[in-house]
């Protein structure tokens, strides 16, 4: 059985009785069992996956209504809540946290008969871009296990890339979907802020983050977006997309479309030679597809990473303040503690990157320093948003390589936080401005993937997916060596 098939082919396979849900799920579980010891994409496997599969098979056999997913195995980043099961955010602080409710995206997947195959690894509280900051050990890149898979949704990227599941949901605060998508050679979409409900996503920087699909194909991304998007009464920031069907006319092409090549994101000084060459090649491909490409400068992009870390640290400091181990958390005897000392003791379980960002988050918005840091960061954000608005009056899309470099080796950057931050250079703009952005696998060089990022204006996912589809159809990539 080919576990590497797309979501749409899986659905066809089930409909044509090529295999049953149970057969596919049990073979997937077996595959996970074999490869995940090495890859460590998963933190936990769903013990009820086979039972769920049998239930859906029964529905199919008895001609009952079956949801669009027909039991396809989907993995979920472990910062998205499912009632009655653990959501750890790859942190020791939430080691024993069992969510009392289910997130909106999971409810939607469940009602379409997806099977949640397991919860995937991430950098602790989604802070990082290599999974090296997971409290439970890193995931490994299936293209070369000496290399990081990207992050923070690294486990999700690996699980899709290594065919441990059909698709995955990740979250993207500054590139956390697109970065591992690029590093693992899968499609990763960060939707417009508000298009997908965040209800049940454990907040890191709630003003800019989104849940999004990670999938094998652009069509699969559209398929999943159809399911998870839309207004939600449990999230006041969601927008009404009028049940738009993102699969319709996905093959419309981009003939005559205007594409802006973001100068700051394609600067030869910032890119590795291979990434630069690949980007230039992608530009030629877009032109062959009938689009008009030209350089466009976004001045504020230079400050975007600084603004991003200032804003996200501030919000993280606030969002993670609740982890005081009073209402939930881990076993910890409180006797003998006065509550201030209890809280600080309880919070000593955070890992180094989370602590770094919370210290930063305590400083940059504080009374004496906000003017120099936090307020300036907000100014960059609003100026960048204005710039983006302006360029989308002229262009349909903006493009860049998703990540300025290819996957790096474990430990290579962990002691150099600033160089690690610069890896986010091309991805944070979409988060700061709220626009949708997608990473499309474009090339395998030196045995490691390179992805191309396409951005579009607010709520232009339909058009964005058309461009991504057109690009995807021009490439023919090797199978993952797993």
């Amino acid at each position: 059985m080919d576990l590497g098939i797309s979501a749409l082919n899986y659905v066809n396979g089930i409909k044509n009785n090529e295999f049953t849900v149970e057969e596919f799920i049990s073979e997937s579980l077996e595959h996970i069992n074999q490869v995940d010891k090495k890859l460590h994409a998963f933190l936990r496997i769903n013990d009820f996956a086979i039972k769920n599969a049998r239930e859906i098979d029964t529905k199919i056999k008895s001609n009952q209504n079956v949801g669009k997913c027909y039991g396809m195995p989907v993995s979920i980043k472990d910062n998205i809540c499912i009632e009655g099961s653990k959501t750890t955010c790859a942190s020791k602080v939430l080691e024993n946290f069992i969510s009392p409710y289910t997130s909106t995206v999971i409810s939607k997947l469940n009602s379409e008969d997806a099977i949640i195959i397991g919860k995937t690894n991430l950098d602790e509280f989604a802070m990082g871009l290599s999974t090296e900051f997971s409290a439970y050990g890193p995931s490994r890149n299936p293209w070369n296990t000496d290399y990081v898979p990207g992050g923070s949704s690294g486990g999700s990227g690996v699980s899709v890339s290594a065919n441990e599941c059909i698709a995955s949901l990740g979250s993207d605060t500054g590139g956390s979907i697109r970065n591992p998508a690029s590093f693992c050679s899968v499609v990763g979409l960060k939707p417009t802020y508000g298009l997908v409900s965040r209800y049940g996503l454990v907040s890191y920087a709630n003003s800019i983050e989104q849940i999004g699909p990670m999938a094998k194909t652009v069509e699969d991304s559209a398929f999943l977006l159809n399911i998870i998007s839309g207004i939600d009464s449990n999230d006041n920031t969601t927008v009404d997309n009028k049940n738009q069907d993102y699969l319709t006319d996905i093959d419309a092409g981009i003939n005559g479309k205007k594409i802006g090549i973001v100068t700051e994101m394609t600067n030869p000084d910032g890119l590795s030679t291979d990434v630069l060459d690949t980007t230039n090649d992608a530009i030629k491909t877009f032109e062959k597809l009938g689009a008009n490409c030209e350089q466009v400068s976004l001045e504020m992009v230079r400050y975007a990473v600084a603004a991003y870390y200032t804003i996200t640290s501030t919000e993280a400091g606030s969002n993670l303040a609740r982890y005081d181990n009073i209402r939930y958390g881990y076993e910890f005897d409180s006797s003998g503690f006065e509550f201030n000392s209890y809280i600080s003791q309880a919070r000593s379980k955070f890992g180094p990157e989370v602590i770094r960002r919370m210290i930063l988050g305590g400083f940059v918005p504080s009374a004496g320093h906000a003017g120099k840091y936090f307020s300036k960061a907000l100014k960059v954000k609003s100026k960048l948003t204005a710039e983006i608005k302006h360029v989308f009056e002229k262009f349909d899309y903006l493009i860049s390589p998703t990540v300025p470099i290819q996957p790096f080796k474990f430990g290579e950057k962990i002691n150099d936080p600033v160089s690690l931050m610069m890896v986010d250079f091309n991805t944070v703009t979409a988060n700061l401005t709220g626009i949708p952005a997608i990473s499309v696998p474009y090339k395998i060089t030196n045995g490691l993937p390179i992805g191309i990022q396409i951005m579009a204006n607010h709520e232009e996912e339909h058009s964005l997916l058309q461009a991504a589809y057109a690009l995807e159809k021009t490439v023919d990539l090797p199978e993952v060596p797993i």
Binding site: V202, N206, S207, N236
Partner: protein, 469 residues
């Protein structure tokens, strides 16, 4: 000059649900930690959902206090660690990036003095800490989150008060106003709390917290002024500090000598999009704003000739003024008002009694009419009121059930009088010498009729019978 400013926290207890979730706004009477959900417990991944009615009620307060109101409001996070705060930040408001709180620059008149309102904001109440034993020696701190997320309106005044008495008057007026707006029930335990800032000429500002009641607030402010004056007389510096009111010793005590400068790292709450309050909404709110207490009082006096004292009592109480409005049929307004203030207020003097009461406006207007047309005596009217409050039956039926009808029929009354005269032979003899004894005999007739006899007719008949003038 003495300057006193207040920070008042008032729960919007009349709302159905909390500020950001669907748990009950009035948490009283629940077992600890049963009026909670993922949102008000700050469970990871939960998101605040703004209660739009809370915004309207708070805006109503701002309008009633003559505040300027914004076209759009925003919420901010105030970050600090405390075990009663489930998220370790409070969602509140802040006039940063322009005025985005519920209201600002308002005013209210207290004893002919204008007290300016600096700011009004909408925020969430934290939970409650319960210490086992004395606070200092407690081994165990328990947290009840039932209150966490209750909608709270904070009203900050300018330091315009000069005396503790003005403070007390202001709080009484404000409390009546909030009750009249039907946004809060200030009588509920903990529904209205206040902190005070006190400074005297040349001294620093001292904040007094932890004050249980308005009565204590007046005392605390009084104590604090005296304390500061006595320091000033002895040329001792008055330091800027926070002091707590010690309810047992009736004094203020320093909370900490060196209060750390508060660092709240305020920033926008992105989970709640800015809320527009357009002119149409404001007009609608203004249109449905309950009549103010002063306008009610004025109307009661000028339109119905109700005395100023009665009008004052009636208008400042939402429940009884509503009862008056319902009972009032424009003909017996003054009598209705008097009956409410003299008889009914005494019978319904607690919240529980009011909630249980079956008394309707019609009962009161009927009763007043019955008294006027001599169908019932005042004494019987009280008995009838007791009964109506209990069972809410129509007045006519209660009079029949209890046999409270007026005895003004001459034949019936004559029979009773004859009976009394036979029983009281000595008094009859005495009455011929001393006419005052007649009143004793009237009393005896009233006794026999259980207060139903028409007193005037009884007197006439008795005198006729005894042959006295």
């Amino acid at each position: 000059m003495t300057k006193i400013g207040l920070e008042i926290h008032c729960q919007l207890t009349k709302l159905e649900s909390k500020l950001f979730c669907s748990c009950k706004a009035d948490y009283r009477g629940f077992e600890p930690n049963t009026n909670i959900c993922p949102v008000c417990m700050g469970i990871p991944g939960s998101l605040p959902l703004l209660n739009k009615s809370a915004v309207e009620k708070a805006t109503l307060i701002a309008m009633a206090l003559d505040c300027k109101t914004p076209n759009r409001i925003a919420f901010f996070r105030k970050n600090y660690f405390y075990p009663d705060l489930p998220k370790n930040f409070q969602i509140t408001q802040l006039n940063a990036y322009g005025n985005t709180s519920i209201g600002w620059e308002g005013k209210i008149s207290v004893e002919n003095k204008e007290i300016k309102i600096r700011r009004i904001q909408l925020e969430e109440d934290p939970g409650r800490l319960i210490y086992e034993g004395a606070t200092e020696k407690t081994e165990l701190t328990l947290v009840d989150y039932n209150r966490a997320g209750t909608p709270l309106v904070e009203i900050v005044t300018e330091p315009d008060f000069e005396t503790p008495h003005q403070v007390r008057e202001f709080l009484n007026i404000l409390s009546d106003l909030l009750e009249n707006l039907n946004v809060s029930d200030p009588g509920l335990e903990g529904a209205m709390r206040a902190d005070a800032n006190v400074s005297i000429e040349g001294g620093s500002k001292v904040e007094i917290k932890n004050i249980g009641s308005f009565h204590d607030l007046e005392k605390a402010v009084h104590f604090e002024i005296t304390r500061q004056q006595s320091l000033a007389e002895r040329k001792i510096e008055i330091i800027q500090e926070t002091r707590h009111w010690d309810d047992g010793r009736k004094i203020t005590v320093s909370a900490r000598t060196k209060e750390e400068e508060a660092e709240y790292r305020y920033h926008l709450e992105a989970d709640i999009p800015w809320v527009r309050i357009d002119d149409n909404t404001k007009n609608q709110l203004q249109l449905h704003m309950p009549e103010s207490i002063s306008s009610k009082k004025e109307r009661y006096v000028s339109k119905y000739g109700i005395t100023s004292q009665v009008a004052d009592i009636l208008s400042s109480d939402r429940y009884f003024s509503e009862l008056f409005e319902k009972a009032n049929n424009e003909t017996n307004a003054k009598d209705i008002a008097n009956m409410i203030t003299t008889d009914i207020m005494g019978l319904l003097d607690t919240r529980e009694k009011r909630e249980m009461s079956k008394l309707e406006g019609d009962h009161i207007s009927d009763l007043v009419e019955y008294i006027k047309s001599n169908k019932i005596t005042r004494a019987s009217a009280k008995l009838a009121l007791d009964e109506v409050i209990k069972n809410g039956k129509p007045l006519s039926q209660i009079i029949e059930d209890l046999d409270l009808g007026h005895v003004s029929d001459e034949a019936t009354l004559s029979d009773i009088i004859t009976e009394v005269l036979n029983e009281e032979a000595k008094a009859v003899e005495d009455a011929k010498q001393n006419p005052d004894i007649v009143n004793f005999l009237v009393g005896k007739v009233m006794q026999k009729t259980r207060g139903k006899a028409d007193p005037e007719l009884t007197l006439v008949l008795l005198k006729k019978n005894l042959g006295v003038k």
